[in-house]
């Protein structure tokens, strides 16, 4: 149970257009057909006692506390499982019902420890509430058979299961199956012996459980309880905020005691998550107050020197004078900034404003460069807007779901659960992925087609799918004529109909059998509402942008754009990837995706910012590295990113960082990048500041400050101080004023304000005069660019090819419990699930090289070498190996190359030719890394020579 004031009506609301009128305790009520009597009563203000029912779950009817009487009907039906009927007359309270309920409750309590005063749920327990509600005053069978001695399962790091407090209401079992879709819990035995058990394991930790916490939220007693509540007691206040992890952007309630977070619970009103969360957002927030946090600014003149702690004033003045010195010595263009998708919209807006207005250059980029920049490019070219077309709820109206290069159950878990709900209802699934991701075959979900393509051949595959659509007469001609540019379409139709794009011709390239491709294309084109969801397996390729355009072509050709249930949906990695791009973090675009060469846009910004702006595109992150190595780029301000770990070809990145004269890192921790820095400005966690994040469905949600910044200032305040020190004044007193400026300058944000967000909870841009409450579905009557534009998408093989020296393809990805570079999750108990990055390989490849499960394996590529532990897995196809990059010491990016997307320079993380061999020790890079890290940690603690005592 959470603190959230939510009137639980006991069973889910129904949406039928038919309505039924009945009377409950003499009160007439009209509700949609299919509604339960319990829900109808609650609508009329009558709360019937209940234990096993909750509005989040379909009713089950096991506790019988909710009995009622219905006129002209025998017995006492359970109101949670009885549906309303026209003219029904229901009585919810009379002597018989009172006695029945009291009897039920007496039985429950007779097998329940009477330690209410010391129980962790004390003050927030439904059993306690309902015992009071039914007027229980005595328990007659206290000495009977009971379960009071059963031991608590504490195996999960975040919650405990105390079976002695379990009333076997099965809310947890249903939450796990219906909401989360994991089916990790079962009810064993029947009657008195009936117990809850983790399926497929001795305890929670060894079961299939993915620690989403849905069962804990659903439990009406203290049987399933957060360990933080057991340790610290019930929270006393609740503040609604937004998860700081993935692009789903779950709305969470931070439940607090003073400034201490007691637990995070998913917000039932959350537009993106509707009351669900995953192990990261729900439990892995402890990093925010981890002892590794650095809370005092530090400077040093070289990276071989110890850090010196200084005041904020000194740190800011030093940074400003260094940046100006570099500009004077090496030219204005010698400095730049990197914004973060982990920071708020207001913060990224401010960093790009600082760069353009105070530095006077457009050298600003963001980590989206290395993940979804091809989405920005590809969707802008075809549809006219650099964003996904739908809201998440749209998936519930999809009949065919195509997942390309994404792994939603790990990368976007709450959306993954929702997608699984729809698949269990019967929607068909097509997965295009080199790996058998969980969705391919998971409880009650099985992909109709798994197109197991070779890494790097996406475009050949999407072309083959489109070829089938065009040559088999499956084009939605009306849609295309009505909505798309005729000339571009005709050119594309001729192009794609060429036999070189046929499934038969491309099978040798993609490795996918032609008949499988044909069947998948037919299903996508004719199976009803068809929606495409894609991830970094699409974008992080040398043809990432081409692939995004290929996806948009396919959706337009089949008319699958512009209504609920369809669309092109990029699943964004980090929480604010969409937002950081919207806010003008790219070097060629001002906020709202308007090119810096656009005179009218520039004049608008110049008039508000009061300075002339450059019309030249600036350096992108990889270009910054090249320019640094070449000697023309000398100073970099990095807010909240860890480029030394996340960017490809680590050797090249660190060479670039070492070439800088002034690297300023603003972060929570001394991350890998900060080890090369000259200035460290302490950052603030999402709990310490106000702001907004924009998720993958363009949903803008508030983050709210629940504690004071540990280092005194929120990140936006630090950027503002730096700007003022540089002589470009900024005077915001609250992030809401920054949002007001964004709204003034950005047409798609015109009507966004904190007041509106507080009122609506969240809003999806475009939010303006035309769409004052936001836009769940885009391109409804016309495309943002007017007519949709088909683009030619020739398949060009990547240059990263296998050969005798490097015969395997390495692809990289993410897992559920860790997040990106791991700076946050590695500082939580999530490490129990993923203590190291491992290399997955197929048994055949393992056998060829004499590699056994658990062996140390050297991974060599053209860029470098690292050593990882092997896991032999049938998920892989022969010739393809896989790893994650959550731990810096694994050096996954030591082997990835700088090969990148032709249009955006997004790195080709998904394809690296490698060779494997069994080894006994870490790679040379790993040894050097360990030594360098150790040195840097020493420099952190060491007092500089001659420092004032």
């Amino acid at each position: 149970m959470s603190l959230q004031c939510h009137h639980d009506r006991g069973t889910p609301a129904r949406t039928s257009t038919q309505h039924v009128t009945l009377s409950i305790d003499g009160v007439p009520v009209t509700v949609p057909a299919g509604t339960s009597v319990m829900h109808a009563a609650a609508e009329a203000g009558i709360d019937i006692p209940k234990l096993c029912a909750t509005e989040q779950l379909e009713s089950f009817g096991s506790c019988r506390l909710c009995v009622v009487q219905v006129k002209n009907r025998r017995g006492y039906p359970a109101s949670c499982t009885t549906l309303v009927e026209e003219g029904m007359e229901v009585t919810t309270e009379n002597d018989a019902l009172f006695r029945l309920r009291r009897g039920v409750m007496e039985l429950y309590i007779s097998d329940h420890p009477l330690d209410c005063l010391t129980c962790s749920a004390n003050g927030n327990c439904e059993l306690q509430d309902q015992a009071g509600r039914v007027g229980l005053r005595e328990v007659r069978y206290a000495d009977g058979q009971n379960h009071l001695q059963e031991t608590t399962d504490t195996s999960n790091p975040y919650f405990a299961y105390d079976p002695s407090k379990c009333i076997v209401c099965s809310r947890c079992v249903r939450a796990c199956s219906d909401i989360q879709g994991t089916y990790a819990l079962t009810t064993t035995e029947r009657g008195f012996d009936s117990r809850i058990a983790a399926a497929g394991g001795e305890d929670f930790m060894s079961s299939e459980c993915v620690s989403c916490g849905a069962c804990v939220a659903a439990c009406p007693t203290a049987a399933l309880m957060e360990k933080s509540v057991i340790e610290m007691g019930q929270p006393q206040r609740s503040v609604t905020t937004t998860c700081a992890y993935c692009g789903v952007g779950c709305s969470l309630n931070a439940e607090m005691q003073g400034e201490k977070v007691i637990r995070m619970v998913p917000d039932l009103n959350g537009g993106a998550n509707h009351g669900h969360a995953c192990v990261k957002g729900r439990f892995a927030w402890g990093y925010a107050t981890h002892a590794d946090r650095i809370t005092t600014p530090m400077i040093r003149s070289s990276i071989r020197e110890p850090w010196r702690e200084v005041s904020w004033e000194e740190a800011i003045a030093h940074t400003a004078s260094e940046l100006r010195r570099l500009q004077e010595k090496y030219g204005a263009e010698s400095i730049g900034s990197i914004t973060s998708s982990r920071c708020s919209n207001e913060e990224t807006y401010l960093v790009q404003k600082l760069t353009r207005a105070a530095f006077g250059v457009n050298n600003v980029d963001t980590c989206a460069r290395v993940c979804h920049s091809p989405t920005g490019y590809g969707l802008k070219q075809t549809l006219g807007e650099s964003a996904g077309t739908q809201d998440f709820d749209s998936v519930m109206q999809a009949d065919v779901i195509m997942v390309i290069g994404a792994n939603p159950t790990d990368g976007h878990p709450v959306f993954g659960s929702r997608m699984k709900q729809r698949l269990r209802q019967g929607a068909k699934l097509i997965v295009a992925d080199p790996r058998a991701i969980d969705l391919v075959d998971t409880p009650h979900v099985r992909a109709t087609h798994h197109l197991k393509l070779l890494p790097g051949t996406n475009v050949a595959l999407i072309n083959a799918l489109a070829h089938v659509v065009v040559t088999e007469g499956l084009v939605d001609e009306d849609f295309v004529v009505d909505r798309c540019e005729a000339e571009a379409f005709n050119k594309w139709r001729t192009f794609i109909a060429d036999p070189r794009h046929s499934p038969e011709a491309t099978a040798s390239v993609t490795g996918v059998p032609a008949d499988e491709v044909r069947a998948a294309a037919r299903l996508y084109a004719t199976g009803g509402n068809a929606a495409i969801y894609y991830g970094l397996g699409v974008t992080e390729h040398s043809q990432g942008s081409t692939m995004v355009m290929g996806i948009a072509n396919l959706a337009m050709a089949t008319g699958n754009i512009g209504r609920p249930g369809v669309g092109v949906n990029p699943l964004r990695g980090q929480n604010n990837v969409q937002g950081s791009c919207d806010m003008g973090s790219f070097p060629h675009e001002l906020p709202g995706y308007r090119h810096v060469s656009d005179v009218a846009t520039r004049e608008l910004f110049e008039s508000v910012w009061g300075v002339p702006l450059s019309d030249e595109p600036g350096l992108r992150i990889p270009n910054m590295f090249d320019a640094a190595i070449a000697g023309s780029f000398k100073g970099l301000y990095v807010q909240g990113e860890d480029i030394a770990q996340s960017d490809p070809n680590t050797g090249h990145v660190t060479h670039a960082l070492e070439s800088l004269e002034c690297l300023v890192v603003q972060d929570l921790f001394l991350n890998e990048t900060a080890k090369f820095a000259h200035v460290f400005l302490p950052g603030a966690s999402f709990l310490e500041k106000d702001g907004t994040f924009t998720n993958a469905e363009r949903r803008i949600s508030r983050i709210r400050k629940v504690m004071r910044p540990l280092a005194t200032y929120a990140d936006w305040e630090v950027t503002q101080m730096l700007s003022n020190a540089l002589g470009y004044p900024m005077h915001y007193s609250h992030p809401s004023e920054i949002m007001d400026e964004i709204a003034r300058l950005t047409p798609t944000f015109h009507d966004v304000s904190y007041a509106k967000l507080d009122r609506l909870g969240s809003v999806q841009w475009p939010c303006n005069a035309e769409h004052p409450d936001g836009t769940p579905t885009m391109h409804v009557t016309e495309f943002v660019r007017g007519k949709g534009r088909f683009m030619l998408t020739e398949y060009v093989a990547t240059e990263e090819r296998v050969n005798r020296r490097f015969p395997l393809l390495l692809t990289t990805g993410r897992i559920l419990s860790q997040y990106n570079v791991g700076a946050q999750t590695r500082r939580t108990a999530n490490n129990v699930w993923h203590p190291e990055d491992i290399l997955e390989l197929h048994p055949v490849d393992a056998e060829d090289r004499g590699i056994r499960d658990g062996d140390w394996v050297g991974v060599q590529s053209r860029a470098g070498e690292t050593v990882l532990r092997a896991r032999i897995s049938e998920r892989m196809q022969p010739g393809v190996v896989y790893t994650t990059f959550h731990w810096p010491g694994s050096g996954a990016n030591v082997v990835t190359t700088e090969n990148s997307d032709w249009a955006t320079n997004c790195p080709e993380y998904k394809v690296t030719a490698v060779q494997l061999s069994r080894v006994e020790q870490p790679s040379t890079w790993q040894k050097q890394f360990a030594q360098f890290s150790e040195e840097q940690m020493k420099l952190l603690k060491q007092e500089p020579a001659g420092a004032p005592v």
Binding site: E333, N363, K491, F495, S542, Q543, T546, P587, H588, H595, S597, V599, D615, E616, P617, G618, L619, R620, N623, D626, A627, I629, A630, S632, L792, T793, E794, V796, E898, S900, W902, A903, T904, N905
Partner: protein
């Protein structure tokens, strides 16, 4: 800046626009892409190479675009 890397990137852009059957449109596409997305140092380095290299490894379409659209790519775009 590392010219090999720039040539490689430029040739990738060229490879994308090769699909366009109208050569003039393709070459304008390459030029427009360079002008809109490449920072000045990168464009200038590419021209320095084009103007001095004996055996250019630039793809023909890229060379053509650079030659035909010098002003668009290098010039002030006000």
């Amino acid at each position: 800046m590392n010219i090999e890397h720039l040539i490689h990137m430029a040739n990738q852009i060229g490879a994308y626009f090769e699909a366009e059957p109208d050569r003039a449109v393709a070459s304008a596409g390459v030029a427009d892409h360079l002008a809109r997305f490449w920072e000045k140092r990168m464009r200038q380095s590419l021209y320095a190479y084009l103007d001095s290299a004996q055996d250019s490894t630039l793809a023909p379409l890229v060379s053509e675009a650079l030659t035909r659209h010098r002003e668009r790519i290098l010039g002030k775009r006000q």
